[in-house]
């Protein structure tokens, strides 16, 4: 809507934030109406990185379509892959070996930490503090190296396959994860010193982007964004998959509904993920890392829905199968898409600097929104 850019009759400014903008971390395009410094309206324009993954998947087999999902929410690619693998396994009634289940959950939680780590650094950078970004990358790099050892990739893993995982974990895996946990526990307090307790940061986050529980549910928020409004919604608790029902962890809920609450949820979630990893790490059962599956997977006719908890919220995979080797229709309910839709509601009436804090705490990943 480039023609509309300009000034409204009330003297309000209409400006583009994005698709090339330092705060959008990607190609998000927001058209915002400003009255001075105050935001009157936020209008997202999407599609700059739309690859129509749903259409692509219609011509890919059930083994092949998993790799595309790594490219949706690239920060939680393991979890996306996991969801797809779970869907195929449930539809085909494949029994997954215990070892594979544990490995998958370990990978999921490592991914979650890595994703929150990046989010923390990028959000602090949006608020003007550059240093945390580099400090966050130090820890994230360790996770990336662990991933690289086992999966051979750092971002788009394609490690989970229907029936288990592609390869067994690397012999160094347990040792490296333990090293990481030891380092992370020391460094996570520094995060509080540098960012969380900082008075400027607190003032930037408190009472910014407040969304009530009812509104958050109505807007379809999920994951840490919804839990920041005090709604319990963890898929790992309510619809546990793999070994999530065998580990003890707390679902983090904050009741503030503002940016600080969402921030605290993610920071505390990292610590919960560490506890999940610690519980599983020493008792990885022996056995196969992948079940025997047929070379050609044909899903039975019907509809399947699988949800998983990614770092950003609830990812839903809806598959309509006609009994062929490829899905007839596939729909990814991406958490970012719904989270973004609440941005306008949150941002109205706040300052332009607050928009950055809101976008940061909603943790928008643009390929996840566009798919």
């Amino acid at each position: 809507m480039v023609e509309e850019i300009g000034t409204t009759q009330d003297g309000d400014l209409i400006i583009n934030v994005g698709p090339q903008h330092p705060a959008t971390h990607g190609v998000l395009h927001l058209v915002i109406t400003l009255h001075g410094e105050t935001i009157k309206k936020v209008e997202p324009h999407l599609g700059y990185i739309h690859r129509s993954i749903e259409k692509m998947c219609e011509s890919l087999t059930y083994r092949q379509f998993i790799y595309v999902t790594s490219r949706m929410d690239y920060l939680s690619s393991h979890i996306n892959n996991h969801g797809c693998a779970l869907l195929v396994e449930r539809a085909m009634q494949i029994e997954v070996p215990a070892r594979a289940q544990v490995i998958r959950v370990l990978m999921d939680e490592l991914t979650r930490i890595a994703s929150h780590e990046l989010w923390w650094g990028a959000m602090a950078m949006d608020l003007g503090a550059f240093t945390p970004f580099f400090h966050a990358f130090r820890e994230r790099e360790m996770i990336n190296e662990i991933m690289e050892d086992t999966c051979g990739a750092r971002l788009t893993m394609n490690y989970m396959v229907p029936g288990g995982v592609q390869e067994d974990i690397h012999p160094d895996f347990v040792r490296k994860v333990k090293e990481f946990i030891a380092l992370f526990k020391r460094k996570v307090d520094e995060y509080d010193e540098m960012v969380t307790d900082n008075i400027i940061f607190r003032k930037r986050m408190e009472n910014v982007g407040v969304i009530s529980a009812a509104d958050a549910i109505s807007y379809g928020l999920s994951g840490p964004s919804l839990r920041g409004s005090g709604v319990s919604c963890d898929v790992r608790k309510y619809y546990p998959y793999d070994v999530y029902n065998q580990v003890q962890f707390e679902e983090i809920i904050e009741t503030g509904g503002d940016s600080l609450a969402r921030y605290m949820v993610r920071i505390r979630e990292m610590k919960q993920s560490i506890s999940i990893i610690e519980q599983l790490l020493d008792g990885i059962p022996d056995g196969d890392f992948c079940a025997k599956t047929k070379a050609v997977i044909k899903l039975p006719k019907g509809e399947f829905y699988q949800r998983v908890e990614t770092a950003r919220g609830e990812l839903g995979i809806y598959v309509v199968s006609e009994g062929a080797t490829t899905p007839y229709r596939i729909k990814f309910r991406s958490p970012g898409f719904s989270n973004l839709s609440a941005l306008d509601h949150m941002a109205r009436g706040s300052k332009i600097g607050d928009l950055v804090a809101m976008m940061g705490t909603l943790d928008l990943v643009i390929p996840d929104i566009d798919r």
Partner: protein
């Protein structure tokens, strides 16, 4: 409520209700015209309290388009799927975005990818496709991408 309880309660409230079997959740089939009778009921009835619309999409069945609504309740944690068949030549249905705000974006997405017209939608514009997009809606089955690299 379990699936059976849901089904019983639903057929009690909506005498004309038909159900689709085979899915993991209760699947209710309704006429597009009846949408505005059923949806507010689902949202507001204390027994259902389906306050969370977590997925809204459409499926192109070549002869018709099916709208699929996935509902859940954050209090009872029961899930319900509501389906409605639309005419392929003129797909039209009432919007639900006044009941669940998340539907606003999801319906805009369905509008551009399937060409379904949502009546009374406050802001039915292209969201993903570029402005001035002409041609078929991309997720329809007869849409042919001239440069599809991965089609073997």
């Amino acid at each position: 409520m379990s699936n059976e309880e849901l089904k019983a309660k639903l057929s009690e409230l909506i005498p004309t209700a038909t159900f689709e079997e085979g899915g993991e959740w209760t699947t209710l089939l309704i006429e597009p015209k009846a949408l505005m009778e059923v949806m507010p009921l689902m949202r507001n009835d204390v027994a259902f309290n389906m306050d969370y619309l977590f997925c809204l999409t459409a499926v192109d069945w070549k002869t018709h388009i099916t709208m699929v609504y996935h509902l859940t309740s954050t209090t009872y944690r029961h899930n319900l799927v509501i389906k409605s068949k639309l005419d392929k030549s003129k797909p039209e249905i009432e919007t639900v975005c006044l009941i669940w705000r998340s539907a606003e974006f999801l319906e805009r997405e369905v509008y551009e990818l399937f060409g379904v017209n949502f009546i009374n939608h406050p802001d039915l514009r292209l969201l993903i496709l570029p402005d001035g997009w002409e041609g078929k809606n991309p997720l329809l089955k007869d849409f042919d991408d001239p440069i599809n690299m991965i089609k073997l």
